[in-house]
Symmetry: C2
Subunit: 527 residues, 2 copies
């Protein structure tokens, strides 16, 4: 009798039981990751300075527990045991995809030794810390050995996935699953061919006047205005909120708690605003994932590039459009009546879309932005391939800026030290995602327009429900259920393509600068 | 050769190595508890409503991991192995006390089955939830079976510590280690004997006029004033901060991040203020514990009662004194000049110290407060002893209020349903700590005065450094290193005693109400 009451641990369990266990394990992992995200958010928003040392430890221990569970042998055995069952299910069912995606994630994670993860994390943190001092000091020499270590770490990481066609392939697969060095390079090369002459033509015209964007703008009014727009977009503040932090970001604690932050510059009218619209785009994507996928690895954006498409769509395609400001400028004007009394919506629209060849990626306009990315992608590829030595990076950076953008950084602070990515996160993964996001933002918007041609008129009326609804139904809902390429195909009806993006840029900037471009429409739609 | 490189797991380790491992384990437990506290703080301050479900899970998983580690067999073996070494160390050394306290905590925790802990936690949460509805609905019948379960849980908890002299002993030991039913009852009985005639005498005088405390007081100004006082007290805002929440509390994420919250009532001048001073007292105690004890079970207040003494000392003994307001009232008046223009400091002082027999414990004045506690202690003792049936509680409550306070609650909402403690936390532990705190607040203050007789004059000058320094040196520094009784003895030079407290009350209220009390001074010191 006593024996019968013992749990029968080795009995064969049904796939349904195993699936239930899998979901429970994944939910606990999500809960631990969500807890770690809360610790991180508080650190960036409200934590007093004294709290830093213990917070680093708290974050490390909670993250470690999540990581251990995600790479545990028990989880591996469970997904292996479930694989045959998964293949009997409809290929596009939630359960089939869950088993397939978790198995792929697990197999990828299992290839990377835990020791490497700990070492890479420690070196990355120390290198980041050094960068926070070296950049203001304009001291590239202080970063040289750190950057060498970061390059070596990226190369070592790639080696765990050998063989590969190109050393960047495993790195790109981490942010934009399914893409490769070859496909990214082709995309960027095609884009460059089209962008360079467009930028040249625009830059021959007089610079837009941005005087109206500078002055004294009360921070609380800036935040209130931005928040009212995100609410109109459809960001659910019952399941989100906006706080301030030194660097804007979006973070997710759970499907029903997705927060954004902004930084206010009291002397700039739109810096904070566009960061709010950008982060709200990320947040709406996460808020829109189907409830059935929540608390699993499918319950998030499809890839970094697809994620970025949503921040860019709401920030740029919507938020920097004339339709949008035709509706919102009067409200902005009434909030800052003293400063904007004599500014017309046309002047404001030209100011927020000023095109100029500059040195800083994060402050670049829509047209030149991708040129900054292309330079970084090519330089990091050469670093990874061993064709460019770390010590030669500053000179190579200057040369590429001169040839591609026609401007030369006076120092490394605004040159090869300007972005944290290589120094803090790793070399060879993050930058292309920004351009992939730009390209996809126009592609998704064009697809939404095909389904609902009156979206621009709705935007002009301050209505975003149809656009948001289309994105939710066709993109957000499916989360990370499908591979990014399939996600793009399902939502937009075609593979990733620069065509909608170039059409969008040609139309917008052709009108703004009255360029004689073949694809620009004969009449200005905003007349 | 290969064998030699393996870690020698079973070799005898030195006590120093084991102690190092113990400290590492304890620090990880603290870090997990700190992370759980962050989750809880965010839930009470900034979390959007949608986040609640996932947050409950996140909190549960992180708390569970901390609890598992604190009760792990490995930790038990470690402290057992360290015990002989601990006895060779100087008895008052940090290491000796650490080993002793952790061993005692572990042994106590080990007596309680994990199943009980999970069941008690689940029932407590469900009972709390029911109470949040039953109290506004004035529906004691809805709580009857929950309260019965809470009584049963407390009895079951006590049974794990049998034999005991009284069923309340194990419960009291959890909040006020070393105290017993007998010692608490003796303390409260002595207090009652002295308080009842004092309250009677005061209540024969006319009621103080509190008109000046009511009006319209801008929340931001209230918070700014309160915060400026806590800063003057010595609350280190580099290692703390103040936010708003539905119920005020103090929480500790680490030794260097101890936060407080308050709730604002825009129509009441001092409700928020005194809650801020109260929570700042708790926070200063935690901030003052010696760095060497941080991240261990010694790095916190000595007991709930001793902790409460510090919130009461800063809120009442300092914050409701005439000295204090002689300095701060002009500032308060200038912040709320419209409302307070014609109010004198004497009128204000009388208003914030109004004595009145009322129904609600949390709103009671210093004099009657302890009578509320004594009623609760006696009723919960009878519940635990089985002498009072749960169904008879409302009637017993009414009878005790009538006999002890001369007021009868018109309903259970303001009667036996008013406090959450029995319904959410458990029956038989929490209430006496409040009165122990009141008693000790005066005892510690009197000891500080013996060392520095000019403290009242300093307070009158808005200077709190000497008082804070004395408390830090004599009380805060030692944290939970010693048993509460020894902590009290070391700091005040005597065992817990109601004498300083009764002297404090007699002097203060004797002056306020010009009573012919033998121990009241002949002249008013604030003349």
């Amino acid at each position: 009798m006593a024996r019968a009451s013992l749990p029968v641990r080795n009995a064969k369990r049904s796939p349904e039981q195993m699936l239930k266990e899998l979901r429970q394990r994944l939910r606990e992992i999500r809960d631990l990751s969500g807890a770690a995200a809360v610790l991180n958010w508080d650190q960036s928003t409200y934590m007093p300075p004294g709290g830093a040392a213990a917070r680093a430890r708290q974050y490390a221990v909670v993250s470690k527990l999540a990581h251990e569970r995600m790479t545990s042998a028990a989880l591996g055995r469970l997904v292996d045991a479930l694989a045959p069952y998964g293949e009997t299910l409809p290929a596009d069912s939630d359960d089939a995809r869950l088993i397939a995606v978790v198995r792929r994630d697990f197999e990828k994670a299992a290839k990377v030794p835990a020791r490497y993860v700990a070492r890479a994390s420690a070196i990355g943190a120390a290198s980041y810390d050094a960068w926070t001092r070296a950049r203001p000091a304009n001291d590239f020499s202080a970063m040289q050995s750190w950057l060498q270590q970061m390059v070596d770490l990226s190369r070592e990481y790639a080696s765990y996935f050998a063989p590969y066609a190109h050393i960047s392939d495993p790195l790109i697969d981490d942010t934009d699953e399914g893409m490769t060095y070859a496909s990214v390079r082709a995309l960027l090369a095609a884009l460059r061919t089209e962008l360079v002459p467009l930028v040249r033509a625009v830059c021959e015209e007089p610079l837009a006047d941005t005087t109206c964007l500078h002055g004294d703008f009360a921070p609380d009014s800036q935040v209130a205005f931005g928040l009212s727009i995100t609410r109109a977009f459809g960001y659910d503040l019952n399941r989100g909120r906006l706080d301030r932090s030194p660097h804007p970001f979006c973070t997710k604690f759970s499907a029903d708690d997705v927060r954004i932050t902004t930084r206010i510059r009291p002397d700039e009218l739109t810096y904070s605003l566009f960061s709010i619209l950008h982060e709200a785009g990320h947040a709406m994507y996460e808020q829109g994932v189907a409830q059935e996928l929540a608390d699993t690895p499918l319950g998030q954006g499809a890839s970094i590039g697809v994620h970025e498409s949503q921040s860019r769509l709401w920030e740029n395609v919507v938020g920097r459009s004339f339709h949008f400001w035709d509706h919102y400028f009067p409200e902005l004007q009434s909030r800052f009546s003293r400063q904007l009394a004599s500014t017309s919506v046309e002047t404001f629209y030209r100011a927020i879309n000023k095109v100029e060849r500059t040195l800083i990626r994060t402050e670049a306009d829509e047209l030149t932005y991708n040129l900054h990315i292309i330079i970084r992608f090519e330089l990091e590829t050469e670093l990874l391939e061993g064709k460019l030595a770390v010590k030669d990076l500053p000179e190579a950076w200057r040369a590429r800026y001169e040839s591609d953008l026609g401007v030369v950084p006076p120092d490394d602070r605004d040159g090869c030290l300007q972005d944290v990515h290589w120094y803090g996160n790793g070399v060879g993964a993050a930058f292309p995602s920004y351009t992939i996001g730009n390209v996809l933002s126009a592609q998704f918007y064009a697809a939404a327009l095909r389904a609902h041609p009156d979206i621009p008129q709705q935007i002009r009326a301050g209505e975003f429900g149809v656009l948001h609804g289309w994105l939710r139904e066709n993109l957000y809902r499916s989360g990370r259920k499908f591979m990014p390429a399939k996600t793009v195909q399902r939502a937009s009806g075609e593979p990733i393509s620069i065509k909608p993006y170039m059409e969008y840029l040609r139309k917008k900037y052709g009108e703004l600068y009255r360029l004689p471009l073949s694809s620009a429409p004969a009449e200005r739609t905003r007349a």
